[in-house]
Each structure stands twice: as structure tokens, then as C-alpha cells.
Amino acid sequence: MLQNSWLIPLFPLLSFVLLLIFRKSKSEGTAWIGVLLTGLSLILSIGVWISVWQGDGIKVEGTWFEIGERAITMGYEVNPLNALMLVIVSLVSFLVHLYSKGYMHGDDRFPVFFAYLGLFSFAMLGLVLSPNLLQLYMFWELVGLGSFLLIGFYYFKPEAKAAAKKAFVMTRIGDVGLFIGMILLFWQVGSFEYDEIFASVRNGDISSGMLTLTALCIFVGAIGKSGQLPLHTWLPDAMEGPTPVSALIHAATMVAAGVYLVAAMYPLFQASETALTVVAVVGGVTAIFAASIGLMQKDIKRVLAYSTVSQLGYMMLALGASGYVAGIFHLTTHAFFKALLFLAAGSVIHAVHTQNIDEMGGLWKKLRLTGPLFLIGALAISGVPLLSGFFSKDEILASTYADGRYGLFWLAVVAAFMTAFYMFRLFFLVFTGKPRGDQRGVHESPSVMTLPMIVLGVLAIVAGYLNTTWFGTFLSDYLAGGPVELAHGDHHGPGWIPIVATAASLLGIGLAYLIYQKGTLSGDWVTRSLPGLSNVIYNKWYVDEGYDATFVKGTKGLSKLGVLFDKYIVDGLVAAVVSGVQGLSKVGSRLQNGQVQTYGTFAIFGIVILLLIVALTGGYFT
């Protein structure tokens, strides 16, 4: 099974190629090509995962090309961490393919959409299987391409065009960090291989300053991809893409790649206390920052997008606080419940043809499956006990506390409260109360869409039992087989932590209930009492505007300045050269005046100069 794991990414690649060939086909049966091939990837991934669970692993490599004496290799590797990722990615990809068959029904470019999904899945699975940083980087960029193409799928919409461009450029800023970090490590270690890098780190071959520098550079890459502060602005805009794309790429897989990168390079981060602190602080601040924006958004997908940013911040916080298992655990559970929430949101949008929650309401009775499934997702992300999010969030809080980062701990608790609040604000506004928009003809989505949601719903409930103190810490035992030394073991924080976490989430739900369901409290008391703050939050802390006023305007200004420089100074140089040549030629042509006396004078003048040279140099001037 393991020897064939290289096939896992190739199935979706085949799907991409086939669907591009059939791109003009009007038949929506083309979707089955994608579904079938990602299904094969899923089966193989599960098989690989089972083998790894039994303690197997594999690493195969060959020379790609050589630079001098050094061979640059390519290959594939399976270890506990990436086997888990393989299953998550191929599962969500498979379910999203299936769901899209219903969601994209009637689209002009139906096969193209599935082709792009295939390209993305190929890149994401390839990224996960990479045994070295360079190969990871290559797939990392291709993943970005997949994301770009899918965000810009509705290419004729100006918003989609802008969002696709923004996503590519913002993540590229991060990618350059990864690029630099990777090259610096290469010159320290002499290789891009994870194993060799970790060996050098263990042996202390790299100075501590260099360790911190490279870890931070690599983390910049993770910041870009995972939408962390300050490079988060592309992720909410990425919601311009079709909703299944948001579920697959911008919730479950690609944005988690940043977290995966930090986890895959964990021994490097562990070697630098500074790097870990930066990871933890960026994660913690992002968690609460994005949650605060989520409180006031009106677009159902944007609320979920900010929620994703916030949850990714949680994962980073966990990794920074030495909670390796907690971070990956939350990555897993989040993939399921967030994909579920997005697909459910897609189902709602599919039914009411709007994304504005002010135009929804009272959909619980009309969407008999979507409603309860959305509720499961909301409960899971809020951290209500017994659902998956509860266990993984609890683990993160415990790790943060055990690591002595008390400030970040309380920040995370507040963020948990906010999460519960905005999720249930969303739930009540969408599913309860009276319809606020035209809801004629609203009906439940077809089973091809609800089926993937049901699967994810089940996983959103049970995935938490992968790692509990009640039944067993299966996940951390499993991950202990990987290259990362889990020095701290499990973080069993004080017993009051789960109680505080639960209280925070119930408080959030309760408050949302009182405001948006009961109407006991008025929703706008904050807006009224703190108009300044709420305005800032509503406008997403003006980050986009700030970047526009500084970086974008600055770059454009510099470019304009360059254009002027080029036009007047550099072209001026040209004009000078041209007029110089012309002037010279005028002098030359004036000499051709037919007067033998002038010619003779010049001839003698020339001979004198030649003789002088000969006399001075004493012969040949060799």
C-alpha cells in the first residue's frame, strides 16, 4: 500500500487533464470523472493511513537535477503527520467534488470547475507527500495557483478578478519568506531534506540566531497561506469563489497548509524559543482579532471566513505553545466542522440566492436537513461539550496554560466566547424568526449535496474522540511515531479549564439567543454606546484601507516616479546621444566641401599626429 502512495496525487492530476480535454462537454456527467478519481485517492489514502497506524512509514527519493556536487532530490514520504493530512485532504476533496455536482448545476463551465478542483487536489496532496522543503515549496505555489483559479472562477465579475489577484499576491508575499528561509537553511545544512535539516538542528550545527531567522522566515510563509495577521486580508475576499471552493480550499485544506508547514518543520521551531513565542503571539492575536470582525459581518460566507482566520489562529497558538498534538487535533476537527458549515451555507445560498443574512430568516422549517446540520457545525465550533470542537479547543487552552502563556490563554477564552456568539448570531438570523426576504420556491438541496454534509456532520460530532482523556489519546500516541519529539507529552491542565471554556461558549450562545432570538436585549446597544469602536470593527479595523494608503499607493507612486525618470532622465540620455551623433555627423559632412586645401590640411595634421605617436612610443604601440 505504502509503495503506491505516490499515486494519491496523480489521480486528481489525471482528472484535471481529462476534464480539460472534455472542457467543452455540456454533459454534467463529467463531474463523475472528478468524483471517481478523488474517490480512488481517498481509498488509497485510507489504506496508507491504516498502514501508518500500524507503525509503517516510507520514504523514496531520486535525483531531480544536480547543482555542482549537490543533488536536488524529489520523492515522497509517508509519516504519521502527513498520512493524517492525506486522509483529511482527500476526504474533504472527495465530498466537495460530490457536493459541487449539485451546486454547480447549470454552470456554463461545469467541467472546467471540476478540472480546477482536480488541479488543486493534486497540488495539495503533493504538498503533503513532499519529503523536502523545495518540493513542498513547489506544490505550495501550485496550491496557490489552484486557489487563484477557483477564486477567479467567475472571471467576468470584477470582484472575483480583484479577489483572485489579491489572494495570489498576498500569499506570494508570504511565500517569499518561505523562499528565503528555505534557501538560508540550504546553505546551512547543504540539503532541503527534512531529515537532514532536523539532524543539523539536533547536532547544533546551526547558530541560534540563524535558527530563529530561518524559522521566522518559514513562518512568514505560513502566515500568508493561513491568513494570519498581518496578511489575512485576502482570505475573506476569497469568498468570491463558488462556495464549495471556500469549503475545500479556504476552510479545510489550503489554509491549513500553513499550520501543516509549521508542524512539519516543528523541530526547527522547537529549537528557537523566540520563534515559538512569535508563532503563539501571532496566532493568539489573530484568533481574537478575526473573531471580533466576525461579530458584525452581514455576509454569511464572510462571517465563516473570519471564523476560519480566527480558528487558524488557534492552531498557530497551540503550536507556538508547544501544543503540537493540540494544533494538529484542532486542524483535523476544524477541517470537518468548518467544511460542514461552508457546505451548509452553500446549501442556504443555493436555496435563497443571497448571501446577506439580513435577507434570510426562518429557514429552519424549509431546509429540514441543512438547518440541523448547520446547527451541529455551529455547536462543534463553539466548543459545546461532547462535540469535536470541544475536545480540540480544550486541548489548545490546556497547552497554552501549561506553557505559561497566561495572557494568551485568556485571550483565547475571550475569542471562544466571541466564536460562540457570532456563530449563533448567524444561526438565529438565518434559521429562526420570520423570513426577511423573498423565499418563494425555497427548497432543500438535492441529495448529492446533502449526503456530503451528513458525512461531515457525523465527523464533526465524533472526530473529537480521536484524542480524549476519557477513552484514550489515540492521536497523540499516533503522532508520537513521527519525527517530532513530544517532550511535554500531553497537557493535562487544571480541571477548571474545560469548565471555563464551556462557560465561555455557553455564555456566547446565550447572549446570541437573548439578542437575536428572544429580542430581550437589543442588538444595537454596543453600536449605540460605543459608536467609534463598533464602526472600526464593522470596517474590519480598516486594515485594507491602511494597506491601500501605504503599500499600494506607495508602490504605485514609486512606479509612476520611475516612469517619469525613465521618460525624462533615461530618454534624455538617449536624446543626448542622438544629438551628439548628429552633431558629429554635421561637422563631418561640413568638411566634405570639395576644397582640396582643407583636405590637405587635415591629411598633414593626421600624419603629424601619427608620427608623434610613433616617436613617443618608440615604435609599435604594442
Binding site: 467576468f156 472575483a160 495570489f168 534557501i183 509612476k560 516612469v563 533615461v570 530618454d571
Partner: protein, 505 residues
Amino acid sequence: MNTWLLSILILSPLLGVLVLLFTPSQDEKSIKWIGILGTLFPLGTALVTLSAFNKSGEGLQLAEKFQWVSYEVFQSNGDVSYPIFYEVGVNGLSMVLILLTTVVSVLAAIASYSIKKDWKSYFILFFLLEMGMIGVFASQNLFLFFIFFEITLIPMFFLIGRWGYLEKEKAAYSFLIYNGVGSAILLIAFVAMFMKTGTMNFEQLAYTFSLPQSELSDMNITKDFKMGMLIALLLAFAVKLPVAPLHSWMVKVHVQAPPPIVMLHSGILLKIGAYGLIVFGAGLFPDQFESLAFIIGLFGLINLLYGAFLALTQRDMKRVLAYSSVSHMGIVLIGLAALNEAGMTGAVFQVVSHGLISALLFFLVGVLYERGGSSQLKDFGGVAKRMPIFAGVLLAGGLASLGLPGMSGFISEFMAFLGLFETMPVLAAIGTLGLILTAVYVLRAVLAITFGTEKELSNAHDLSSTERIPAFILLAAILFIGIYPAWLSDMLRPTLDSILLGLGG
């Protein structure tokens, strides 16, 4: 047959000229067919040459050498004769560039379907240009190199000035003046080297200049002389590459010349600058080159960022691509400045990769002009609807240009930066800013054309089957190098190794 192979290759474009001489000048269809077939013959010959070429072999291969002219100089200790040879040969580097030349020539000939007048003289000049380019890369002495170098200038001048766009004459003169000044400097440097050493052969020159200073003093060759020569050579080839601020002629040519000619110009002719820097700069004066490395790197950085910044706000697609070329040639310079195997390989990869990518992009600009009668970004929008294949290829070309992994642009950028980070990490770190800017300007320009609200075009139809041939071949070549770089790097290694040996690396 191998003894004459290279000479046949160099002269092979003349067959097309010969046939054209007997073709009526009004017969457009036949002329264009002869144009394409006439470039296929050199391509075939180049492939035969490639198969005769031993990829792992070191030194010069398929060399030919005959005495051409000789003249006697009277000196006190007796007559000294200075023979001038016709000597050609190929190593890995020149083999690769000759192959690139012949491939791009075929595709440019296909793209010449858009030429509207005087087809006969157009193709005659086209073939002469191709011969010049092949000759430049095959020459093994200064004299021959210079002759072929000049041969490329003349057809190019007429091709721009006669078949170009509105301000074609101005562009042609600008081209001639700048390149003329460059050639003049080159000629002076070549003559001075010949006078001092008595040889024009590249290998002998490299050997002579590598002698210890005590022996060189007997020939009156001082360190300052070597440095002076190097600076002269760098200056001459900096015009050709071009290095900012000597780039304005090249922008004019990019904008005014007909697209197939720009494919050749941007794809091959600019690369003569890079080739010259490697063969004459690093190859003949390694020590001096090493001491100037930082300055070369600095100029590379300036090119990279200056080009990228200017490409950001251009309104004409051709100008975007012109400044993009300036920026990408910066990568060649920083790769060379790294003075190590990674950087040097990156520089040569960039030469090949940019040749393919810019040929592809300029081909597509030609198509765009054909469809909309303009290359202004504001005249286009939403092209992806009516011309999905065109839009897809344009996006792919753009992505290759911004260095997407899996395509040739990534390998060259990656290796050039890998090399520079070893020797000049700070310069390299600043240079990575260029990677971001490239993404911004490429996507801005490409998406302005293909995405967004659709704008009416006078003649919107997707790539025809004729147009798909160059587009797909170039794209395939870009992907091939991106996925399987070993094919190229293996061929280049012996040549680059010997240059690096001189650099003490």
C-alpha cells in the same frame, strides 16, 4: 559529414534565401510557406548537430578550423605573420543557444503570417538574421564573432524600420545607434586584445590571460589592461542585454517592431548580451570579473527592481513585457554575480527560459493585435469568454514569467537566487522583492485582458489551428524545462564547470 556539420548549420538559412530569389514577390502564400520551411531546415540541421553532440563531453566539439586571411607585420626581429582563422565549434552552452535560436526562428516564421507587405524581402532579411544569430553562438574567435554580431544588426534594422508600427523608423535608428556604439566598443576591445596576444581564438585568449603575471608582463599585459578590457566588454554587452539605464532602445524596439521580430529580438538577440558576458567576461577575465562581482550584482538588482517597478503602471501590454524583460535580465546578472555553480546555472537557465517565455508572450501580443487592433490594456477585458484557449495560454505564459514552479521560469529564478544567497545574502534578500512585484504586474496585465467585463473586439475568435502550433510548442518547452531541468543542466555542466574553474570556484 560531421566535419562540415557546423558550417552547414550556420549557412543553412541561406537555402531559404536562395529559393526566395526565384519566387515571384507577389506570391504571398508561397513566400510564407518558404519562410516556414526555410527555418525548418536549420532546425533539422541543429537537431542533427545535437545528436552528434556528446552531452557529457568537455571542451569544444565539432570544431572546424581553416586559415582565412593572414597578414605579415614587419618588425625589427623579423616578420611576424598574423593569421586569421575561420574557426567554429560548440560547447554545451552554445549548443543550447543554437537550438533555442532555431526553434524560436521556426515559430517566429509561423507567426509571420501577420506580416502584411513585402514578404519576399522580409523573409530574406529574416533568414540573414537567423544566420547571424547561429553564427554568433558558433564562432570561436573574436573576428568571426564580430562579423556575425554585425550581421545580426543590419537585417534587424530594416526589419524594425520597415515592418514595424507607427514609430518604427525612430525605433530602428535608436536600435542602430545604441548597438552601433556597443559594437564600436567591442571592436576596440577585440583589436586591443588581438594586438597584445596575437591570437583571436577564445581558448587561446583564455589561456594567455590566465598565465601568471610575470609571463604576462613580457607581453605588456598589465592588470589594468585586463580590467580595462573587461569593463569595455561589460559595457558593450550591457547595451545588448540591456542593463539599465541603457535599456530605452530595447523598450522602443519591443513596442515598435512587428511581433515575430520581437520574438526573435527578445527571445534570442538580447541573449547575445548574456552570452557575451559569460564567454568574454567570466570566461576571459575571471579574476577581474570576480572583483567586479558586487557591482554586477548591484546592477542586476537595479535591473530587476527597476524593470518590475516600471512594468507595474504601463498601459500598453508591449511595454509591460518590455520592462518585464529588463527585470528578467536582472536575474541573469545576479546569477552571474553569484560566482558559483547554482548562480551561473540559474543565469543560463534564465537565458533559455526567458527566450521561450518572451517568445510566447510576444506571439500572443501579436494575436491580440490581430484581434483588437491594439495592445493597450484598456481596450481589452473578459477575453476569456470568446477566446478561452488564448486566455489560458496567456495566463500560463504569465505564470511562467512570474516563476511558477513546474515551469522554466521557476528553475532559473530559484537557482539564481540560491546562488546569490550564498555569496551576497543581503543583495539577494532585497532582490526577492522583485518576485512579489513580478506577480503584481504580470497578473495586473494578464487579468486586465482576460478577466472582467467583456469588451467588444473587432475580430474575436480563439487561437486558430495555425496559431496553436507556436503557442503549444513554446508552452510545452517551458513545462519540459520546468519539470525536467536535468536535461538542460547536464548539457551545460561541462561548460560552466570550466568557467567556474577559472573563477576559482
